[in-house]
Symmetry: C2
Subunit: 231 residues, 2 copies
């Protein structure tokens, strides 16, 4: 029987060749989507500024979300000491310490509590009347505050997936690499980083300058995943 750690790290034993991740000659969407790979080898000396990371997060958060509640919350782990603290929690996957930052994407189950802020801002811009805003905010409270934890988690995970994809594409478009990690000890992570009780982990994303290209994309043929009109 193999441990989760063995399984997650096995990929590093595979022969990926010695190629670096491809440097894109444009930020064309189709190229970026094609060339984004899950990269597990990073230059540990490469540093990203807060401003560079914020630029990527600003683009990422242009993603849509359920009722525009933006339940995503990000913990950006940059300090080496904290990345080392995270390492065993993330099954010793070495990208955790080698990448410039690890971004924990979290979903707030009480994101609806920001509805007044979000829709209030739209009123200020003159795009919505106060009456419509009040209607929206009360409808949102009505719909979201009564969700079970399981239902609220589903919403947070879907929206967390949306923002994570846009984050990884934005990084690639800026010449950086990423790898999403779902395989880590969620409970230990929550405890070690004092994650607020209503924030649920979506994934960790290592972000930095890749030094070895990711594994080639193998995808199921479309006819195995697409059905037309009805089952």
């Amino acid at each position: 029987m193999s441990s989760k750690q063995d399984y997650l790290n096995k990929i590093n034993e595979l022969d990926l060749g010695s190629n670096q991740p491809k440097t894109l000659d444009s930020s064309d969407f189709f190229l970026v989507a094609e060339e984004r790979r899950s990269v597990r080898q990073y230059d540990p000396t490469f540093e990203l500024s807060m401003e560079e990371i914020e630029e990527i997060l600003t683009i990422a958060t242009k993603a849509p979300s359920s009722s525009n509640l933006q339940p995503w919350r990000f913990l950006v782990i940059q300090e080496q000491e904290l990345k080392e603290k995270l390492l065993p929690i993330a099954n010793n996957q070495k990208q955790v310490t080698d990448a410039s930052a690890v971004i924990a994407v979290l979903g707030d189950l009480e994101a609806y509590k920001k509805a007044e802020d979000i829709y209030g801002d739209i009123v200020k811009s003159g795009k919505m009347t106060k009456e419509v805003k009040d209607f929206y905010v009360s409808s949102i409270y009505e719909n979201y505050s009564h969700l079970s934890e399981e239902q609220a988690t589903k919403v947070a995970m879907v929206d967390g997936g949306l923002v994570s994809m846009q984050l990884m594409l934005a990084a690639k478009a800026k010449g950086l690499d990423t790898v999403p990690m779902g395989g880590f000890k969620h409970d230990e992570f929550i405890k070690a980083f004092h994650v607020p009780e209503t924030f649920k982990p979506v994934m960790l994303i290592a972000l930095g300058k890749g030094t070895q290209e990711g594994f080639e994309k193998y995808r199921l043929p479309l006819n195995e995943v697409v059905t037309w009109n009805t089952f």
Copy 2:
């Protein structure tokens, strides 16, 4: 008290102006991500071929997923009669019948059963030995077949979010518009479209030629959603 239907359709009463969605002068990633909007008005006469939809799905499915299991499954609803059947299930949001297609993104809780196909293909390409493949496939069965339904659903929702974001960006890069819809009657949908038992709805995405631009993006300031290093 307002119904979910009133709430979901209220946005159509807002003054969005008479502008059509912006026609992009390039498929640059940053432009595509910025200009993608949730568009709710569609040209009902605009048709998309199966090939055009397949192109978008091919790009979408270049998204990453947990252990590359690609749990996403798509039901592409194009026939007008079926879109009309979907309309009340989707709270009478008119984009359901006006858009060229509605793509139901689903997550298969038993996606791990395709591990042998996926990793077997990599062996055929010569990028992995049979021994490593066997190790991966058995680890995947070990890790995924023992997940609770709740845990498996979380994985399917995150991966479903990833693929949905890439799908919506691919559509925008191709000059089309989309709107993601989480607000529909999941149980009724499953029954009406004979959705297999292990497939869980992630969202519906209307896809077509938008006729009115979507609502401007309002986003929380980064400092409300980002924390540095530790909570």
